[in-house]
Symmetry: C2
Subunit: 399 residues, 2 copies
C-alpha cells in the first residue's frame, strides 16, 4: 500500500506531480467506489444468443457492460450498467501509449438451481488492486465491485450458458484515460467489466500439450511486474509463442536465469508432481517471488491439495525448481505428471517438454490424456465452481 499512501500524501499536500501538469486535490474529497449508487440502462436492441457450439472465447459479448469512471479530483463516480458500446478516447490517451492497463479473468457459472455463481472473486479483487497500485492507477473496495458485478450478472443472466464446462467469462479491466503524452501518474481512469459466454476449454476430454523450454525470451524478472496482471506482460509473449508454435509446440515453458528455474507456462501457472525416494509424492509449483502471477487457480489447487491429499503420502511445495531437476527426475522415472493451471482451463495437462537442442522430456499421462492428480484437482474445483459442493466461501451466488 506504499503507493496509495504516497499518493494520498501527495494529494493531501496538494503537490503538483513532476511532469504531470496536474495538481492534486485534498484526499478527503475523493468518493469511494459505491455499489449502492449503481444505475442500470437496459438495452433496447438485445442480441440474439449464439448456439452453444458457436461460442468462441472472448469474441462475443453480452448485451451490457459495467463502467465506473475515476478522476484524481473526485474519486470514483457512479457505477453504470449500460448497453455494450465502444469506448471513445482521444488518440493521446495514455492507455494507448504507456500501457496503463490491467485486467482480471473470472467466470460465472450456472448451477443446477439456475443461480449464477462466481468463484473466489475476492481473490481477483485483491490482485486487481495490487495491479492498479503497481502502475499508479486507483484502488477501490473490491467487495463493492463484486456487488456491481453481481448486478451485472443478473441483468445479463440469460447469457450464462448452461452445462458442464460452460460459463460466462468476466473481464474486469482498468485503463488510464488521461489525454496527455506526459509520462506520469494518471489523473483519469476507467474501470469496466465485459462478459463473454464460453464453452468448455476441452470439449471432448483433456488434450495434453507439448511445451518448448524457453530461455531465449524472459517473461518476468525480479524488480519487474510479472506478478501483476498488467497488459504489459502479455504482448511481449506472443512472438515467443509463435516461435514455439513454428517448431510444433503449443506453448512456452518460461524459464528464468542461468539455473533454468521453471516459472510459468504460456499464460498459466504450472505444477509438477515428483515421486520421492521415500515413496511420497511431491506437488511442486514456483513460489510467489515477484516473477510469478498470483493465480487464483494456483492458490485453490495448493489449498485443496493441502486439505485433501494425505500428508503421509504427499508433500505440497512452493519452492524453486529447475528444468534440470525435471529432466533428471524424468530420467530416473520420478516424474509423475505436470499441468498448467489457470481460470480458462482450470488445468491443462502436459505431455512433453522439448528443447531447442533436440532433447525432449516425456511427461507421463497415467490416465491417457492427463495425470491422476491433474484430473482430480480439475474435478475438485469444477464441483465448487458449479455449486455441486460447498467449500469455505469460495462460491458466491449473485443476488
Amino acid at each position: 500500500m506504499l503507493l496509495r499512501t504516497l499518493l494520498t500524501n501527495l494529494r493531501a499536500r496538494s503537490l503538483p506531480l513532476a511532469g504531470s501538469g496536474m495538481s492534486i486535490r485534498f484526499a478527503s474529497t475523493l468518493a469511494p467506489l459505491d455499489s449502492t449508487k449503481l444505475t442500470i440502462e437496459h438495452t433496447t436492441t438485445p442480441k440474439p444468443k449464439l448456439a452453444k457450439e458457436d461460442l468462441v472465447f472472448g469474441k462475443y459479448f453480452t448485451d451490457h457492460m459495467l463502467e465506473i469512471e475515476w478522476t484524481a479530483s473526485s474519486g470514483w463516480s457512479t457505477p453504470k450498467i449500460t448497453p455494450y458500446h465502444n469506448l471513445s478516447l482521444d488518440p493521446s490517451t495514455i492507455v494507448f501509449h504507456y500501457a496503463f492497463e490491467l485486467f482480471e479473468g473470472m467466470k460465472a457459472y450456472r448451477d443446477s438451481n439456475g443461480d449464477i455463481r462466481t468463484f473466489r472473486g475476492d481473490k481477483n479483487m485483491i490482485r486487481m488492486n495490487k495491479s492498479a497500485e503497481r502502475i499508479a492507477l486507483p484502488t477501490f473496495d473490491g467487495e463493492e465491485l463484486l456487488k456491481c458485478i453481481d448486478k451485472f450478472l443478473l441483468v445479463d443472466r440469460d447469457f450464462v450458458p448452461e452445462g458442464n464446462g460452460y460459463s460466462l467469462y468476466l473481464r474486469p479491466t482498468m485503463i488510464g484515460t488521461t489525454a496527455s503524452l506526459g509520462v506520469g501518474v494518471p489523473d483519469k481512469a476507467l474501470l469496466y467489466v465485459i462478459a463473454s459466454p464460453v464453452g468448455p476449454y476441452y470439449s471432448s476430454g483433456f488434450k495434453p500439450v507439448s511445451l518448448e523450454a524457453t530461455d531465449y525470451a524472459v517473461r518476468a524478472w525480479p524488480g519487474g511486474v510479472g506478478d501483476k496482471k498488467l497488459g504489459a506482460n502479455y504482448a511481449p509473449c506472443v512472438k515467443p509463442q509463435l516461435e514455439a508454435a513454428s517448431r510444433g509446440y503449443a506453448q512456452n515453458l518460461w524459464l528464468f536465469g542461468e539455473e533454468g528455474y521453471i516459472t510459468e507456462v504460456g499464460t498459466m501457472n504450472v505444477f509438477f508432481v515428483f515421486k520421492n525416494q521415500d515413496g511420497k509424492r511431491e506437488l511442486v509449483t514456483a513460489p510467489l517471488d515477484g516473477t510469478i502471477l498470483e493465480g487464483v487457480t494456483r492458490d485453490s489447487i495448493l489449498e485443496l491439495a493441502k486439505d485433501r491429499l494425505d500428508s503421509a503420502e504427499w508433500t505440497i511445495s512452493e519452492r524453486k525448481y529447475t528444468i534440470g531437476e525435471v529432466e533428471e527426475r524424468a530420467n530416473k522415472g520420478e516424474l509423475v505428471e505436470a499441468f498448467g493451471a489457470g481460470t480458462a482451463a482450470i488445468v491443462s495437462p502436459i505431455k512433453s517438454i522439448g528443447f531447442r537442442d533436440g532433447r525432449n522430456i516425456e511427461v507421463p499421462v497415467a490416465l491417457g490424456n492427463s495425470g491422476e492428480l491433474t484430473s482430480q484437482v480439475a474435478e475438485w474445483i469444477r464441483k465448487i465452481q458449479y455449486g455441486e459442493e460447498s467449500y469455505k466461501n469460495w462460491s458466491r451466488v449473485a443476488k
Copy 2:
C-alpha cells in the same frame, strides 16, 4: 525479421493460429503502406493557436491526424489525414488488455526560411518497425510513412512554433485493434500520428537534476523488451519515479543486476564523462545489449562525438559500467560530468546521484548548470535540427 518471416510463412500456408480464431490468407494479397494513396480531409473547425508560453508537452494537438489501418487479410489501407478525432474501439480491443502498442517520439522544427524539418526520422522508422515486429504487429516501409508525415506537417504547418527550442512533437503510434480477448497475433492494427506544439524543455537555461540510484525496481532485462519503444516499458516505471520523487529526486537512475550496471535515466539514455589517468577523457554510455533503448539522440551524440572530438584527447565508449565505478571515480576526482539524452530535452544535465542508504555522488557541472560536453552536444544537435548547419542526411525538409 524473424517474426515477419514466420508470419509470412504462416500466412502463405494459410494456417489457423493457435488460440487466435483467425485463419491467415495468402501473403501476396497484402497491400504495402503506400504514401501515394494518401487522402486529406481538412478540418472545418480549425483550433485557435495557443500562445507560445501556454504550450504544455503533449496536452494540446494540431487540427489533424494521420491514420493508416492494417488488416491481416488485406495489409495496409489508404493513409488518411483527417480532422483530429477520438478513436472509437470495442472494449474488448486487445490494445486495452494486452498492451499491443508502441510509439515513437520525433520533432519537427521551423527553420529560418520557414521550412519544416524533421531530424533523423529514418532512425525512428527503423526502431518503430523493430518494436512492431517484437509484439507481432505489422511492419511497413518507413520511408513511406515519413512521406505521409511530411504531408501531415505541411497540412498543419501553422502549428509548428517558431523560435529556438520550440518544435512540433510528433507521436507515431501503432496499436492492435483486434476485438477479441484471445491472447494471440493481432489481425487488425491502426498506425496513427498526432502532433503537439511544444516549448523549450529548459525555458531559461539548463536545470541539472538529482537522480536516485534505483535497484529495487528494474526497468529492463535480457530476453525482455526494454530495447523496444513499447507501451509496456512505461507504466511500470511511474511508481518508482513517484517513490524517488518522494525522497526529493527528479528521476530514477536505472541500475541492473548485483553489479549495479548503469542502464538509463528516467525515460532517457545516459552518458558519463570520466577523466582517465593518462589525461584523456572518456565519454561512456551503456552498449545496446537488449536492455537499452536504441535512442536516436544517443546514436547522434556518439556519432558526432566520434566525428568532432579530438581522438588524441577523447575516447568514446559503448561499454558496461557500474554505479560503483562512477562513485569510485567521483571520489578520485575523475568524474567530469553526466547527462541524460533523449528527444524531449536533447540533453538533461545531472548534478547528483543519491542512494537510499544516504550516500550521495556529486556530479560536477563545470559551466554552473551543465558540464562542457553536455552543453556542446546540445548545441551540435540543435543546429542540425533547426537547419542552421547541414550534417549528413540528418535533417529533412517536409515537401
